[in-house]
Amino acid sequence: MPEFTFGDRELGTCQRLVYTSRIATASDASGGHRVRRSGEGADFLDYRRYVEGDDVRRIDWTVFARLRQPYIRILQHETVLHVNLLVDVSRSMAAGTPQSKAALACRLACALAYVALTNGDRVTVATFADSLGHMLANLRGRAALTRIVTLLKSAPLGGTTDLSAGISAFRERARHRGLVVILSDFLAPAGYQEPIRMLLAKRFRVFAIQVLDRLDWGEGLAGSLRLRDSETGRTADVLASDRYLDEYRRRLRGHAERVDSFCTRRGQFYLYANTREDYAQLIARGLRERGLLR
């Protein structure tokens, strides 16, 4: 179980933060996020030319009579944001100093949930490892934060990282489109591309937060070592020389860059988080500068 705290200090960091409209998606429920949507909603925003495929019922006939050109009214709809937090609680997330990767992931998840709950958005929290774990869906109100913290603290750390299994199960159970935040180390042998593609296909916005520790980077390792995989128990004898470590780090850095580019090329978000980073700085640097929060 990840041991972490989420108290007044963490809450103070999240005060007055809101999600930006970039990540908001149209929803039937009304909320605080304005979403442009043709023909629906209460507030007029603008006109635009009719293109094939538009619903003919949205054509403004008054304008057509005057201009002999079909135009459609664009209305602004204020919708609610669904924030889905998927926290990796596999065995590999247990490592880390001064805090474990799972702890940092949980703290970030709580922060994102708190921002959403204080702004009236809906929050779904789920843990996953080799399958989808516990899940709290469609939470509202600040009081739900306690349930979220309790859920994350009680989630057992174990199993292998299987993004495909976890995300597939989540996608089947998700009832609302919205933002999916994946907090994981993305050290999954089965890969990460296909699960994210599946989410995008369902018109989810994806925010990948890759949490790594100094041990992932091979820091503090030297000499002839027997490395044991924390998830599978497999071992490998390596000679951790400078040259060897450099090559290993180059590979890991390439992996992180590939995750980043995979997300950003698709208009999604990516954030690298290190367990040594200060929590407040991570919120400010990662989430605000990347346009997720404001």
């Binding site: 065995r91 590999s92 997330m93 490592a95 990767k101 990282t161 180390d185 050290l187 042998p189 520790d213 041990l215 992932d216 390792l221 030297a222 000499g223 002839s224 070592l225 027997r226 490395l227 044991r228 995989d229 924390s230 998830e231 599978t232 497999r234 071992t235 490998a236 004898d237 390596v238 000679l239 020389s241 400078d242 040259r243 060897y244 090559e247 290993y248 590979r251 890991l252 992996h255």
Partner: protein, 616 residues
């Protein structure tokens, strides 16, 4: 290999904690990592098997131990002057090795000042302490004369015992001769001969198989190079030489029986400085001359002397008139009586009679000493022979005292006197078969019996030769007088020099005893009736006691260097006694530890992090 600082071997104990730490460290670390995926993908994997890793591990330990060993050996200052089984040391025990050195080494405690010889001896003794039994050790002292105090000795204790008793001699070194002896003593041609001296001879040092260890500092020095009695006055001139001496003014004292008789101040200038000391001393009285303040080399701050006894000679010259002879014989402390040939032999007694072209005489040998120049033999000792003309000397005895400082090559004789020497005569110079100078002495009588007959015959008239015009004529004449009177020039010396034979006047008695300045008996040999100490080694007064009679000779040290007056030659002493030749010498023990740890860390970093070796 010999170690200059064998105590550093104690540092070898550091291998114990290093090895223990190595052995008790976990052999292979098992680390749980989050995921193995990228570790496995990395190409450079440790493909060594179990035995490979074990071998690498022990290789690592071996490297560490070798590093420690190298450090310790470096601290122990190994030198290899000796080969594996032979140690040959040429040790300079000459006078300048008595120079006091400030102790800037760690060979000896700093509680007192040590001479260079003390330092070197201690160095060799330390080295011998660690020399294993069986190593052939030869130690040759390079003073005058060279001495072998250990000849291929295999028991180091004996060498140490022989060396411990030595002290430097007040002589000049003969390193070249000592080196030659060392070469002959060398059993193995590949063995190196170690020469330890405060001097330096680049020619010898450059020779194959020679290692020259030069020691000592360069010190300012003032010294007495000579003490010369002034003729006709009761005074001596003291000649001082100095080098970089401060202060520039010194006090020169004349001391008799440990009492200062007179003293004067002398201001040192470039080149020799002369200080005159006047005093009324009795003939044969020993005295000292001392220069103050003393310097690092005190040996030449004191000179010893014996006030010369006046040597009065009575001469009788029988001649019809020869200004050259009269001028040559008219010398101080000499009474010359010139008589006509018709008045000889007269009543007046003379030590030596010089007969210039005599025509008549007693016809038989008469008691006395004579020098006969040409004419006819007045004593009837020689035989008559044919006269030879136009001669130059062709054979002569160069070491004969008659010919000392005389150049016979320029002699020319127009006509000889036709004398043939008797059977028992000693021919000194001749031209072909023609004798020119010969000595006739009754072979049955001792040399110093003045009641007997002795004569030197010069087989030509002075008027028939050019020798009176030669500068060496008075020298030859006085050589002949001294020879007949059995006088030696050294008998008139105020002092002798160490390393040069010291002679006492002829002694009849056999119960003679010669002692050196410290009162110890020294060996003396009879040579031509005189008692000779072949190599006086120490400065001071040598005494000959024979039947209640005592004769004193003073011996001083005179440097063979021109400028140094017994002190070290300028530039000859370049560095102090080497103790630790490397910068490690300056490290305190904790510094050595830090250096050792740093070296281990460095080697671990270089080898291990480069993936060459793994430690632990």
């Amino acid at each position: 290999m010999t170690l200059l600082a064998p105590g550093a071997l104690w540092w070898l104990l550091t291998v114990v904690p290093v090895a223990a730490l190595f052995l008790f460290r976990r052999r292979i670390s098992e680390v749980e990592i989050p995921a193995l995926i990228f570790w496995e993908q990395t190409q450079r994997r440790d493909t060594l098997g179990r035995w490979g890793r074990r071998l690498r591990r022990w290789l690592s330990l071996l490297v560490q131990l070798l590093i420690i060993l190298a450090l310790v050996v470096a601290l122990a200052e190994p030198i290899d002057p000796i080969g594996r089984d032979e140690l040959i040391v040429v040790l300079d025990d000459s006078a300048t090795m008595q120079t006091m050195e400030e102790d800037d080494t760690t060979v000896v405690p700093a509680s007192r000042r040590w001479t260079r010889f003390d330092l070197v001896r201690q160095l060799i003794l330390d080295r011998l302490r660690d020399t294993p039994t069986g190593v052939r050790t030869t130690v040759i002292l390079a003073g005058t004369p060279p001495k072998i105090i250990a000849d291929r000795e295999t028991v180091s204790q004996r060498v140490r015992a022989a060396l411990s008793k030595r002290r430097p001699r007040d002589v000049n070194p003969q390193i070249d001769q000592a080196l030659e002896i060392a070469r002959r003593k060398r059993h193995n041609d590949t063995s190196t001969i170690l020469i330890i001296s405060d001097r330096h001879d680049p020619h010898l040092a450059a020779q194959h198989g020679v290692e020259w260890l030069r020691i000592g500092h360069d010190h300012p020095n003032v010294g007495i190079s000579a003490v010369v009695p002034t003729i006709g006055e009761q005074s001596v001139d003291v000649i001082l030489n100095h080098r970089r001496m401060t202060p520039a003014t010194v006090t020169v004292s004349l001391i008799v029986n440990e009492r200062v008789v007179t003293r004067t101040n002398a201001t040192l200038r470039d080149g020799p400085t002369v200080a005159r000391l006047s005093a009324a001393l009795d003939p044969g009285e020993p005295f000292l001359v001392r220069v103050e303040p003393p310097d690092a080399f005190e040996l030449d701050n004191t000179a010893f002397g014996v006030w010369p006894a006046p040597s009065h000679v009575r001469l009788k010259l029988v001649t019809a008139g020869n200004p050259f002879l009269e001028a040559a014989l008219d010398q101080p402390n000499t009474s010359l009586n010139v008589i006509q040939p018709g008045n000889w032999p007269g009543e007046k007694v003379a030590d030596v009679t010089i007969l210039d072209s005599p025509r008549t005489g007693p016809g038989k040998p008469t008691p006395g000493r004579f020098i006969v120049f040409g004419g006819s033999d007045p004593f009837g000792v020689t035989r008559a022979g044919p006269a030879a003309t136009d001669l130059t000397p062709t054979q002569w005895s160069a070491d004969n005292p008659l010919l000392r400082d005389v150049d016979l090559l320029r002699w020319h004789i127009d006509r000889t006197a036709g004398m043939l020497p008797p059977r028992f005569a000693q021919c000194v110079a001749q031209s072909g078969d023609v004798p020119l100078v010969f000595v006739v002495r009754d072979p049955g009588q001792p040399e110093d019996d003045r009641d007997d007959f002795a004569a030197i015959y010069v087989n030509f008239d002075l008027a028939h030769s050019n020798i009176t015009h030669r500068a060496g004529f008075p020298v030859f004449l006085w050589n002949a007088i001294d020879h007949l009177l059995n006088r030696r020039p050294e008998d008139t010396l105020i002092s002798y020099v160490t390393g040069v034979p010291l002679s006492f006047p002829p002694q009849r008695r056999s119960d003679t005893r010669v002692t050196d300045p410290s009162g110890r008996d020294v060996q003396a040999f009879f040579d031509d009736g005189r008692l000779v100490v072949p190599f006086p080694e120490h400065v001071g007064f040598y005494r000959l006691d024979t039947g209640g009679k005592r004769i004193v000779r003073a011996v001083n040290y005179i440097s063979d260097g021109v400028r140094s007056v017994g002190g070290p030659d300028e530039g000859a002493v370049a560095r102090p006694l080497p103790r630790r030749p490397t910068w490690l010498a300056t490290l305190p023990p904790w510094g050595v530890l830090v250096a050792a740890a740093g070296a281990l860390l460095l080697i671990e970093t270089l080898l291990f992090h480069r993936g060459i070796l793994k430690v632990g």
